[in-house]
Symmetry: C2
């Protein structure tokens, strides 16, 4: 088959992740946040009460060191707040600031709409299959 550039699944997933980030960025650009920052804010918005930094890192499957920086930047932007955890002197609790909450509420509809539009060239069945398989592979690789 001449001309068929076999795209490796691994390379494909990494490229797709980069492309998603790139295409998503304009939605958040006016609010001066990045898609990854959105992911953190979104988790914070859905969590009852505050989360520890390590808890956030586990939920988003990134290293705690990475989360240290992410939260520091969100704090810098005035979107998240940290306070000491009285029950554990090592730990701190992170939560949305009032501005952070307002931003999440404001951006949520645009984000959801973008995600809905995403698979427009792909059948709903294939999109559901994709989500399921991605979750399975994540579980496999986490173990």
């Amino acid at each position: 088959m001449p001309g068929t550039t076999e795209r490796d699944l691994i390379v494909g997933v990494i490229q797709l992740a980069n492309l998603l980030t790139r295409r998503l960025a304009p939605i958040f650009e006016k609010s001066k946040i990045t898609p990854q920052q959105w992911a953190v804010l979104s988790v914070l918005g859905e969590s009852e009460g505050a989360l520890s930094l390590a808890g956030l890192a586990r939920k988003l499957l990134v290293s705690k060191q990475n989360m240290t920086g992410m939260v520091a930047r969100l704090e810098q932007l005035g979107l998240a707040e940290r306070e000491a955890d009285p029950a554990d002197l090592r730990s701190s609790k992170v939560q949305l600031s009032r501005r952070g909450r307002a931003l999440v509420d404001k951006l949520r509809p645009s984000y959801d709409e973008w995600v809905r539009t995403l698979g427009k060239d792909v059948s709903q069945r294939d999109m559901q299959s994709l989500t399921r398989t991605v979750d399975r592979l994540i579980s496999e690789l986490e173990a």
Copy 2:
């Protein structure tokens, strides 16, 4: 459904990409290269003749600025070589060095084996569906 933490497809794909990179790293660690460097070397290994930096960037769907750095590091490692393109004074051609070629040949089997083992908890049908849908979404987002 209490306890069901809906994982967003976008977030899932990004997490999967990060996990794949993390789990793949040990294969390349002894050779002092990263999974992304492997991707570049692999493309160079399969291409007839040399590729321009911009051509490499297009093939791997990253910015030319990123590719500048990637190739510089591969050159630093003695795995790739650049030479001026006589047909275009702006451009240069990148190709594997002898050491680079040897490294690709050496690592190829381990990489292929790792990829084959990847979907062991997932049916072959779902893996093929995944590959197809990832490619479709990439096309959609590239447009």
